[in-house]
């Protein structure tokens, strides 16, 4: 804190930081003018040049620099600055697909960005460097202050300054009362909300000829301040534990299918660095249905809401069926996750899975079942791929195309009217050939490798499309086989995550807020009353000092002065109020 709290002339000039944090003990290292740098710096150190430090001094200097307020401030701003690219450039961890698109669109920038880890800013070494330095700076700043606070808390307030009228906020008046009477009254008044120190013990104060009362309040401000900073550490630790030991995974589950919590069941899985798969909770569940309300009219016509995915779950499905825990049911909704042990299950998406059967030319069933199509727009026009492996090499059948939940032909163009499945229709292109399923290279189920595939055309060479409504079957050209569209099922996208010790983080932020409120709104204040006999009566001086700066002391002073007046003798008025 600067000593300028009540200095009215404290204008726009920057003051150097004061206090023990400014710089090296050797003092002149950084401030030495250029030309003086090579001159001997003092009597004691004449064998060394200015700016030269022993290793120990250097470490000490570095530590002091690192834990100085200035550095903390710069680091704080650097943290803000460092976070900016993360909000502008797409991040791998947030949206991998967008990141990929961005990389494709900017081939020249990508290598540079990659080198600077701009696609995963929050896991990059330089970002870690900033917050680790900040944390060290925080610890180095907080620990000494804790000690100072601890010692200071038990001490009495300092005695009143000799000359109270030199303080910016003061008042004085003369009265005919004895100094001791005034002082006793002052002590009585101040003791209510202040810690007190007096020039003489309470019993002797009444007979003092020249004495003072010193009151101090608002020491909790510093406590709040310390609590805030300590809590920030707690939050960082909690955040660290959560992201190191936790995991987050996603799975697309067609309604009716079950899920048991093991690594192989996830579509995507993002574990923390210290995550242990053996500690995954052995629950399982089955999604029985998915319900959604489509708004039929009004400005948001076609918007979906009221998502519900009723499911049944068991908290333990490991081992023999007889040891499974009893089945319970839960209606999974947005904003209402299901908590099983320490793991939570969230409903975060939905879509359609047309049930499709593909047969080859001989009528053998090559593929049968619901196929997940991914929505491409808000009206759930969805894209998907069917990969049917043929009985012989080179006879694979591939389908690729769109699913329209509510299909309509408007002016000859196929249009999807809304997201509800009022008129589900498939419109696919068909391919035959080699899908490359046996090459051992893992493939996405949402993409088809068309390198070995040939698009099927009508006998006259025109484009052939598999256009199907529910319960319809179409024969493929060239006797390649047939495709049947049986109906539609819903799928739900579930996010399953475990964040250990999330309560620690929450506790940390809440404590931080409490500490913050204390450090912002508690006003540390000192009030002094000095009374001494002067010619014609007793001269009473009152002064106050707001140590936080920015406080408004005039009302405080007048309250104190009022309280010093004798109870019913209103004639005694303060003669001079500065």
């Amino acid at each position: 804190m600067t000593g300028s709290t009540n200095d009215p002339t404290d204008g726009p000039t920057t003051r150097p930081a004061t206090g023990p944090t400014t710089g090296p003990t050797t003092g002149t290292v950084t401030e030495q003018p250029e030309d003086a740098a090579w001159k001997p710096s003092g009597d004691r150190d004449h064998h060394r040049r200015a700016g030269e430090l022993t290793a120990r001094e250097f470490l000490r200097w570095t530590w002091r620099q690192l834990t100085s307020m200035r550095t903390a401030l710069v680091l704080l701003l650097l943290l803000a600055l460092g976070a900016i690219p993360g909000s502008v450039i797409p991040q791998e961890g947030v949206d991998a697909l967008k990141t990929q698109d961005w990389k494709t669109a900017h081939p020249h920038l990508t290598p540079i960005y990659d080198r600077l880890s701009l696609f995963s800013v929050y896991h990059s070494p330089w970002f870690a460097a900033i917050y680790l330095l900040l944390m060290i700076s925080l610890v180095g700043c907080i620990v000494p202050r804790l000690l100072v606070y601890w010692r200071g808390y038990r001490q009495q307030p300092p005695p009143a300054p000799r000359n109270l009228t030199r303080l910016p906020d003061h008042a004085s008046y003369t009265t005919s009362e004895e100094p001791g009477v005034v002082l006793q009254r002052a002590a009585r008044h101040l003791t209510r909300r202040h810690r007190l120190a007096t020039s003489a013990p309470a019993s002797e104060l009444g007979s003092a000829e020249d004495g003072w009362v010193s009151g101090e309040r608002g020491q909790l401000r510093e406590a709040g301040n310390l609590l805030f900073h300590l809590s920030v550490l707690v939050v960082l630790v909690g955040f660290g534990i959560g992201s190191l030991f936790g995991y987050k995974g996603g799975v697309i589950l067609v309604v009716g299918n079950g899920f048991s919590n093991s690594l192989t069941q996830y579509d995507d899985f993002d574990p923390g660095s210290l995550f242990d798969a053996a500690k995954m909770e052995p629950f399982c569940f089955t999604v029985h249905d998915f319900k959604v309300d489509w708004i039929q009219s009004g400005p948001r016509q076609g918007m979906a809401r009221g998502f519900q995915a009723p499911l049944t779950y068991r908290t333990s499905c490991s081992g023999d069926r007889s040891t499974w825990s009893p089945e319970r049911s839960y209606n999974l909704r947005v904003n209402h996750p299901l908590t099983i042990g320490g793991t939570q299950i969230f409903l975060i998406g939905h879509g359609y899975a047309p049930v499709i059967t593909v047969r080859d030319g001989q009528g053998h069933k090559l593929y049968d079942g619901p196929t997940v199509f991914l929505p491409e727009s808000s009206n759930f026009e969805s894209f998907g791929v069917v990969k049917a492996s043929g009985l012989k090499a080179g006879q694979d059948i591939g389908l690729e195309g769109l699913f329209y939940p509510t299909f309509a032909l408007i002016d000859g163009d196929p249009v999807n009217v809304m997201g509800d499945d009022k008129n589900p229709t498939l419109s696919l292109l068909a391919y035959v050939g080699d899908l490359g399923l046996n090459t051992g290279v893992p493939q996405s189920v949402y993409e088809m490798d068309k390198a070995g595939m040939r698009e099927l055309k009508k006998p006259d060479g025109k484009m052939f499309r598999v256009d199907l409504q529910r319960h319809e079957t179409i024969q493929l050209p060239d006797g390649a086989g047939s495709v049947t569209f049986h109906g539609v099922k819903h799928w739900t996208r579930l996010q399953i995550s475990r964040t250990p010790d999330v309560w620690l983080t929450l506790l940390g932020v809440v404590l931080a807020l409490i500490g913050l409120l204390g450090s912002l709104f508690i006003r540390p204040r000192r009030v002094w009353v000095r009374a001494r006999r002067s010619d014609g009566g007793t001269l009473v001086e009152v002064a106050a000092l707001d140590r936080s700066g920015g406080g408004d002391l005039a009302p405080v002073l007048s309250t104190v002065v009022d309280s010093l007046r004798p109870g019913d003798d209103a004639a005694e008025r303060p003669k001079e109020l500065a």
């Binding site: 002339t9 401030l73 400005p299 947005v334 904003n335 998406g349 807020l513 700066g549 408004d552």
Partner: protein, 342 residues
């Protein structure tokens, strides 16, 4: 009343509020243009002059008394100043009331009734309401009369932006927004936004006044000369920020993550909006920190506050339009690949 009637009421009230804000701005401009011809000292006791906030250093008045030899304003000018000052305040109060009606009826027009914070239009009209309400509430306490023309102008512009570009018809809340945390999270975010905006205005004026004082030109006439002293501006700015910061902390670092944990499965997603809110938090933390420890008062602190308010408003409006990956993207046409895309 039916929903449709409520909706009409809301739209009309917004229009009315806009018109009255404009009239209030005009009244303020007439008031201040009248004041231009009058030296500061001569009208020191009229309503317009910011009541020298108690505790303001007496040194500030030194310059004022020095020029009090200037001729007192004519009776008509004096009357005009006082009259239009009061008129402007009254109009602002009326506009604020209409503004409130617009916000409330917007919520009542939805079926089912809800808080009116479902999209950018609603955020903007509510956020600007908080700015006006904050100004009116703090006006007396901090002597903010000088802020009048700026607040009315800013709110007017915000309302115009909202009505012209951001307007969207009333619609039910998207599923992810349908949570009690909407009320808690968004309300605190908006209160903090209002406070930071007022703080930003104060800081900007601090810089303007500091510059004018440095040049020492025309210190006696005009708007800048009538701003409170630098020390007062600095203190008012600090107090407003000190109020806004804990509220913002609650919005961004407590209620936000709790809700995110419920709706999106993870309390911190490094979503662009979250990151930007965090950046804002850090900048304001630096502001308070700088004042408390490094002794950065005045100019440097004011610059930090302006950076803070810039990140705040960029976050509020910019992220919704420029960022493609934000889950917080309320701006039109939410992609529906997943429920979280709101």
């Amino acid at each position: 009343m039916t929903d449709l009637q409520w909706e009409h009421l809301s739209n009309q009230a917004i229009g009315a509020a806009g018109v009255v804000y404009f009239l209030a701005l005009l009244a303020h401009l007439i008031e201040w243009s009248a004041l231009r011809t009058v030296p500061v000292a001569a009208v020191a006791r009229t309503v317009v002059r910011a009541p020298a906030t108690a505790g303001a250093p007496p040194a500030q008045d030194g310059t004022v008394t020095a020029s009090s030899a200037a001729a007192p304003p004519q009776e008509s000018t004096r009357f005009r100043i006082e009259m239009f000052g009061r008129l402007a305040l009254m109009l602002t109060v009326i506009a604020c009331a209409a503004h409130l009606v617009a916000v409330v009826s917007r919520g009542l027009a939805a079926d089912p009734n809800r808080v009116p914070w479902g999209n950018m239009y609603e955020f903007t009209i509510t956020g600007s309401f908080v700015v006006t309400a904050g100004y009116l509430l703090l006006r007396k306490r901090y002597g903010l009369a000088w802020m009048g023309p700026i607040v009315t102008a800013i709110v007017l512009v915000l309302l115009m932006v909202a009505v012209l570009w951001l307007y969207s018809p009333i619609e039910p809340l998207t599923e992810a927004l349908n949570s009690p945390w909407l009320v808690i999270h968004v309300m605190s975010a908006m209160v903090a936004t209002g406070a930071f905006t007022l703080g930003g205005i104060t800081s900007a004026l601090y810089l303007v006044r500091a510059r004018a004082e440095k040049r020492e030109t025309e210190a006696d006439h005009g708007y800048v000369a009538r701003l409170p002293s630098l020390a007062t501006l600095d203190r008012v700015s600090y107090r407003i920020h000190a109020f806004g910061f804990p509220v913002w902390t609650f919005a961004v670092l407590i209620s936000g993550p709790i809700w995110a944990h419920q709706a999106w499965s993870s309390y911190w997603n490094w979503d662009p909006k979250e990151v930007c809110a965090f950046i804002t938090w850090v900048v304001y933390a630096a502001y308070l920190h700088a004042r408390a420890t490094a002794g950065w008062r005045g100019r440097n602190a004011a610059i930090l506050a302006l950076i803070g308010v810039a990140t705040l408003w960029f976050n509020f409006i910019g992220i919704n339009y420029f960022s493609t990956t934000s889950q917080h993207s309320y701006a039109s046409g939410a992609p529906a690949v997943s429920l979280r895309a709101h």
